[in-house]
Each structure stands twice: as C-alpha cells, then as structure tokens.
Amino acid sequence: MCKNLIKSVLSALLLMFVLTGSNLKAQDKLIGILDEELNREMKTLKTQDNPPYYMHYRVDEVYSIRIDANLGVLTGNSEENNRKLAVMIRIGNNEMDNYREIRDTWEGWSGYDVTLLPLDNDPDAIKEILWKTTDETFRKATDKYAKVKANVAVKVAAEDKGADFSKEVPNVYYDPPIIANDMKFDVKQWEAKVKKYSEQFLAEPKIFDGSASIEFKILRKYLVTSEGTKIVQNLLYSRLFIDATIKADDGMELPLYKSYFAYKPENLPDDNTVINDAKDLVKKLQELRVAPVVEPYSGPALMSGEASGVFFHEIFGHRIEGERQKSEYSGQTFKKKVGTEVLPKNMSVIMDPTIQKYAGQDLNGYYKYDDEGIKGQRVNVVVNGVLKDFIMSRTAIDNFPKSNGHSRGQINRKPEARQSNLIVETKDPQTMEQLRKSLREEAKKQGKEYAYFFKNVTGGFTNTGRYNANSFNVMPTEVYRVFVDGRADELVRGVDLIGTPLAMFSHIDAAGDKPGVFTGMCGASSGWVPVTAISPALFVSQIEMQKKYKAQDKPIILPRPDTDK
C-alpha cells in the first residue's frame, strides 16, 4: 500500500481505539464467523460419501461510488455497499478433484449468481446464509466430481499431469478496516468536477456524447479456508475517465478517451490537467472526423508504450497463464517453449502484483494475496528473451507444481491464473527519435511511402483456443501515418491491429526508453480483474492492420439542440 494509505489506515485505527477501546479482532467479527461455520460444515461434510478435502469462503465487501456527467450535466450517481459471498468446495484429492476440466461437454460453465451477506456482523444471519450456500455448493461439487471421474475413465489420458490443486502452506494476514468517511471522497465536489470536465466537450457541436466519470471503490476481501488460511486485505481504486465520441460523415463513430488511476481520489490529477486533456481530446476529435480512412496494411509500425502494453497483455500475457497450459482446448503456444528464446535477447517480461507504483503511477494490478490466499509474487516470465516461468494459480501444470500467487477472479467465478502488473523492459532502450528513424528506414526498405504509429488504444482481445485461429486484435483510437520523406505525421482512422502471436514476436526489433502505463480491466473466464500493462514503445518491422467495424447509420440529422438557435 502506498504511504498515504498506510497513514490513513493508521489514523483510522487510532480513531477506533479511541472510540471503542476494543481490539482488532473484535472489530472484525466476520472472519471469526466465517471460520466457525466453515469448521462446523467441514466436520459433518467429512462424514459423507464424497468428503470434501478443501473448502473456502471468500467475501468481497464493496463500498463504491460512481458519478457520471455528460456534456456538462450529471447523468448518473450510484452507490454500492454490500458483501458478496463465494463458496468453494473441492472433492477428491489434490491430484484429481471436481474442478478438473471435463472434456467434450459444456460442463463447467457455471452461472454468475451472487449471494449477498448481511452488512452487519450478526453471526446467526450470516451463518444461516453460509449454511444454505454451502449445502448448494456441496451438492453441485459431488455431482461434478462423479462427472469428472466418468470423463477421465472414458477419455484418453490428459496430456498434462499437474495436480488439480497444489499443496501450499496456509497464510494468515490482516488489514484493519478502512473507514469510508476517512477516505475524503467528497460527492458534491466530484459532481462539480465531472460536470466541469465533461462541459469541455460542448465546445465542438458535432460531439454528441462527451462524458466524465469517477469511480471510487474500497474493496475489503476476506478468505477463510479449511487449510487454515485467514486473510483480510483492503484494496482501493479511484478511476477517472473522460471520453467523447464524434461521428464521421461515413457513419464511423470515433471515440477518444483519457483515463486516470490512483488508489486515493486526492491523488488523481488536478482540474487543470484534466480540463486541458479534455480540450486536447476535442481538438483531436475534430481532426479525426475528417481524417482519411486507412486501407488494410502490412508493414512496419511503431507503438507507443501504452499501445505496446495492451499488445503484450493480449499476445503474450494471456498465453502464459497457468490454466491455459493445462486445458486440452487451449492453443498452449508457449507450454513447450520454457528455456527457449521467445523474444529479442534484450527484452524481459515481469508479472508483479507486489508493486504499487511504476514511473510515478499507481498500479491497478496490485494486491497482497491472491484469491486462493497465496502471497502475490514477482514472476520473471521472460529473462533476456528466454521464457522462464508461467503465472500460476494452485492449478498445477507439468514442471510447475506450485502457485506463484496469481489466482484471481471476480467473486462469483472460480479464480484462475490471471495477469497482475505486466512489465516489459529492455536493456537497450532507444529514444523516440531513434525509433522513428528506424521506422522510416524500414518503411523505405520495404518500398513504402509511409509506416504507422499507434499512439493510443482502448484495449484488445485475443483467442487462445484451438478451434479458431490464435489471433489477437488491438483496438487503436489514435493512429498516425509517419512519412518516409519526413513530412509531418498524418492522423488516420478506421483500423484495428491484428496478428498471430509467434509471427508477431519475431518482428519486434527495438524498444523505447520511457515506459507507458496502461490501466485496465481484463475480462476472461474467471471474470473481470483489474490489471496494468507497462511497456516501452516498440518498433515492429511487420504488423498487419484490418478495417474496423463501423456503425452504418448516417450522422445525426439535426444539429445538437444547444447549438441550434
């Protein structure tokens, strides 16, 4: 946690002592209630035909506020304060249990139900709900275990022999509660701020949607397991977004945005910065609306740090997640490449949930313990171009029998190995000027009039399965033509960056000297998790671009009402 946070947590702590004089454990009855009921349940369930060998209760206590404004007017104001419960019961043993992949069925696509727990710490009410949810989970678990056994008996042996659930040492960790009122989130003040930010978009009459939103969230995560793990940890998130959309005459909707992330709202940028950024967005949208549409292209490109971060997250990050090395349906691009060179020799890739700041920026992928109660660990995935490691949950794979604290998941999904803070580093950094020079030279060599520079992206997606091509797609919002003859860059629109991972890696030629930090939410089979992707700018000798889907409706017929006077 950052220094400021510790301070405020400490002061909150102090306050509590002053006010109540009680000790910490008494302040957090929930952990004790969860533990008691878990032990009681285990005792009886152990006597059943298919006894569980592991069980956990996971609770997310959420307090969040979100305020939205559009073109200078408030459009939303919502608050969430609840406790969500997830129960996991594992039947069988560590080697094989009910969570094993059942091949050739749809089994395993569980729902997205959420069970709410009381906000107060009434033990009877909480235990009754835990009891009912445990009963339902146990029934499903025994049924699933029978199906796993049948599936294993009729199918060929699974290629990967890793255990379904690795054996780990239990952990105990406790963060004192954060008192929401101490967090200085002033609703009135933020209403005024987001109104002011979004008001900037009124300057361009063709902008029909120009919003600013702030979300502040205090997440207190509980995990109690039958192995003795007891973890209570706090996470804070403040996220500010400004985005606006304009429509080109050919129907293409062109959104541009800027996002800011800090743990605490007061560490978000000041009004001047955000207002100036909003004004910049307006200017760029005006240019973008009349910018030329790009035709499909193959050739050299330069990607900004943020764009490269997303690019790495998609083409590489998702392919080094443990579960994907195990699934018989996954492409397993890198499974057999450990110890071999997968990237240029001067590049390294690290996945590190333990750091809170990078280049002065708070990181969204930070946590102390993962959702299986394993301490988050720094994983050197690629060292000097050579693949060394995968990010692991407790789902073991061949040669990687232990978790490295990367099991993550939305409360109502089974946690799986997911990315945290992805960091791409180079030992041979080049300035932007050097990279641009290389880009021009390469374009010239390939006989091109220009190459492309990807400055900003909204995100991307990738397919890691075996049925369809193992491709990725990065969605840029701001792309420039960089001319061989040294003319000024030209803003263009209407493209996505596409490719396949292995071909792509062999074309990474050089990296920049300044890291770009992309803050995002990543959605995959275990749900949405907060992540960061950090990378220097990259120069790539060969990329491919395809046309972007565009809306087919004509531009809005009448002028915006406030401009139609």
Partner: protein
Amino acid sequence: MKSIYKIVLLLLSVLIVINIQAQNNSREVIMKAMKDELNRNINKLKLENLKKPFFISYTLTDIKKLEVKSILGSTVNIDDKPGRNSNVRVMIGSYKLNDENFVDPNNSWGYGGGGTPLPIEDDYYGIRRSFWTSTDNLYKAAAENFERKISARKQQVLTPEEDSLWDYIKMPKVNKILPPKTLIFDKVKWEKIANELSVMFKTVAEIYNSNVFISLYQSDVYFYNSEGSEVVYPMTLASVLINATTQAKDGEPLSDNLAYYNLTPDDLPKTDKIKQDISNMISNLQQLRNAKKYDESYSGPILLENQAAAELFKQRLFTATPGLSANRKPLYNNPNEIYGEKSNKTLEDKLGRKIMSNDITVKDISFTTAYEGTNLIGSYEVDAEGVIPSKELVLVENGILKNLLNGRVPTMKVKSSNGHNRQMVNGSGSMLSPGVISITSNKAINKDAMKKKFVEALKGEGLDYGFIIRKLQTDNAGMRINPDKNLEKGYDNESADNKISQPLYIYKYYLKDGREELVRSTTLPGVSFSALKRTIAVSDKQQVYNDIVGVNSWYSSVTGVPTSFIIPDAIILEELDVDKDKKAMIPKLPIVQSPLSIK
C-alpha cells in the same frame, strides 16, 4: 413550549412550500425541454428520399425510490439513488398505414449509434440532447422499417378487412397536469422495519431461506406527443414483499409469500399486522411441511376462497392467455419465421358470445380510487398514450364478452383505444393492462349458503371429498425477486395457454365429517375459460386485491403495472381437475443441520 412547536411547524411549512416550488420548476424545465425538442424533430427531421415522421411521443419518468432488502434481521442491500428513464416513439407513414405492427426477424441488427444519456438533473439542454439522439436513432429505424413493411404487404394477400385496418388511432388532444405527490422515504425507519420483519424467521430453523424486500417508489411521469397532448402525473407505490422457502421431509420444495401494496408508505399496514401475518405464514409453512402428499387425481367441484379466488380471476382473465386484452395480429415479413404466435391468442372472436357464467359481470372502473376504505393502487386518470380511460368499461356483462382492454393500436374488432396502455413502475415501457376491475355476480350468496351448495354438489357427484383452495402461488412479478433457485416451486411452462399457478394451501374437505385436511404436491392442469362458465356459487362478499401485473422481474426492482381487483372472496367452480404434481426433480434435504437449529 407552545411557541417552539409553532416555529417548528412554520419551518416545516416553509420547507414544504419550497419543495413544491422546486418541483414545479423542475416540471416546467422538463416539459419545456421535451416539447421544444419534439416540435423541432416533427418539423425538421427528414432524410433525403424518406418520409418525415408523422407522429412522435416522448415519455420521461423521474424516479425517487428507497429499496431495502433484509435477511434474518440484517440489511443486505439498500438502494436510494434517484433515476430517470425515457421512452420515445416515432412513426413513419400515416395513422392508416405506418411502420408499426410489423414483425421482421431480419430487421436491422446493426448498432445504430450511441446516444446521449438522460440527465438526472433538471437541465434543459441536457434533456433535449438525450431525446435528440434517441429520436434520430428511432427515426432511421422506423423509416427503414416502413419501406420494408410496404414491400412485405405487396408480397401478401390481405383480406379487405386486414387491408383497411388502421395502424394507429387518432385520439383527441389531452391536456392533463396532475399535482405532484411528495413522499418522504425515511431510510432509517424503513431499514429498521425491514429488519424487524425479517428477524422473525431467525427463530425458525425449518425455514431454509427467507427475505424481506421493501420498495418505496415515487415518480412523476411526463408525456408529450406531436398531437399536442401534454400530460404530467405522479405514480407512487409502496411495497412490502416477504418470501420464505423450505422443504417437506421428503424433499419437496415449498414456498410462501406475502405481498402488501399501497400508494404511500403511510398507507402500508402497521408493522404489527405484518408481523402477525408472518407469524401465520411460518406456522402455515410448518403445517405444510408435515402435510400429506396428494397421490390421487380429482375432477369435480372446487371451492376457492380469499387470495385463491382473487388469483384465479386475475390470472384467468388478465395474465394468462388468452385474456381480456385485445391483441393486434401484426404483419409478418416471413410467415415461416413467426415468433410469438401463441401470445397472439385472443378472445376477439368471442365478442358478443358467452364466455362466463351468466351471473357474472366484469367492469373496469379505473377512476375509482378506494373501496370500503382501502386504496386501489390500480386507479389512474390517463394512460401511457395520453388517453383518458372511460369511467366504466364493461368487459363482460352477464357472462357475455362485451369488450377488450385496448390501447391506440386497433384490432379487427376493437377499433379504438379505451385507455389501457399503461405505464409501468420502474420500467420505461408500457403494456396493456387493467386498472381497477370489478367482478360481481347477480346471484351472489353468503358463505354459509355457499358451503351448503358445495356439499350438495359433492354429494351429487358421488364424491367422498372435495377441494378447498385458499392460496395459489402468485404470478405477481414482485414476488420473483431473488427466490431460492433450488427450491422455487416451478413456474414450468408458464406461458402455456390456460396456465394457472400451483395451489399453495389446498385442503381436502371430507363429506362424511366436514373435516379439512391440508395436502401438498398438487397441481391444477390448466383452467380454461369454459371452467368459468359453470359456476355453482359466488360469494356476496367483495375483497380488494391490489397487485402488480407485469413482466417477470429479472433485476431487483418491482416492475409492472399496479392493478386492483374488487372481487368476490369465494367462488365454487362446478368442475376442475386437481392432479398430483409430477416434479422433474426433488432435491435432497440439507446435509448439515441449520445453524439456527443448534442454538
């Protein structure tokens, strides 16, 4: 002391005055924004080679609410954030022939374009911008749809009646501005009440799941259309919904519920009264757990009392298909891809013919606001299309079908609106729905006489026993909030024709000794209209049944249309089937003992 009191009162009245003032300003801003934007669009909106819209309507609902969900004495969720939603209708063509009443499965699936969200503050341009983008999107879709419909008509043979049937009926311009209602939602108070009610289940280990949901709702609905109709009215609803589920000893899922609806929080029953009802519900469920499973099959007279009589009438006449609502058969682009054929079932062809026992008359009297001191939540003065309902609409007279509820879309036999396209609470849409329904019998008799008739009928049929049903599972949308998925008593195949929900409290009445025996695991295989043709007796005592008719709630709010029924509190049907319920799956009992049972 006295003077302090005065000052407080004075302050209060100042506050109220200021509040109403603010509300009036808010009303002015919202209505002006809607009017100006609508007028701009009806005059200027046009794409080259396409027609201008001939009709536009805007609806905006401004909502204030408090929702509390409580389990076993503890709050699990509270939502008190205000919100707004809007609804826009744009028509191309003419009243006679326009883009509506047309089903085209291949119709535009593309992403039309983004829009500007509706402000939650009274910002004139903000509101206009939101209607501006929605109108634009809808105009483009409607203009294209109109051309597709014209083309589809050319490919099909239409009867002269079908060909000349108008798409939308002209109605006189309406100007109706009703005063606002300002309700105070005391969060602390209602959270306390919710917890006080839900804590009652804490001592009952045999109830496996329970929850209390209190929803207080206040809204102002704004409506303006290009015909110049201008309507503003308040809509309020206060609901207390209580659910409990358990299992019988053989595993059969059992559930019961209580629903209280009224216009304002103050009109809701006193907490003590609700507590008494919960207490009764708990003991009823306990009896039901121990009740015998019905393992026979019955066909014969059935006495329905209280809630069961009300639910039977409500479901059979209004929420089951076919019901007493008109239903326009749309034009289909491709008859091989007809969806929703079933929902088009209508009683239209039976107009003028007998559909019920000839002593029964059914009327809609939506202007009636109360009955014997009970508020009628279904009462309303103007519908979602700005149409004022008739003071009295006779639907069934002495058993003969006279009319059907309708909005402005005419059908073959119901050519005009009788003002029943109604605005939903918490939803942006509207649906055909009754307001206040009165059902009376001119041969009504008292309860004792009814019982005698029941016994006679059973004897006449040579039966040892008959059935008395006192409660049916409700099909009320509000009750579906977060039911226990594993224990929910099935609403399987709920959209099937003639489907009526399952009996909850059903008693075998033994002829020889007049004994009543509660049984479980029964089902009503379906109640067609013909069952209502043969009634043995109807009670002379009327009950008020306030309910929400509507779509199943897939999110955690009460949605649908408030309706009221003034209905006889008992009826004997000459012949109805009761079968044993064949469940697809019966879950086992919980393995571990409930923590509440070991206290």
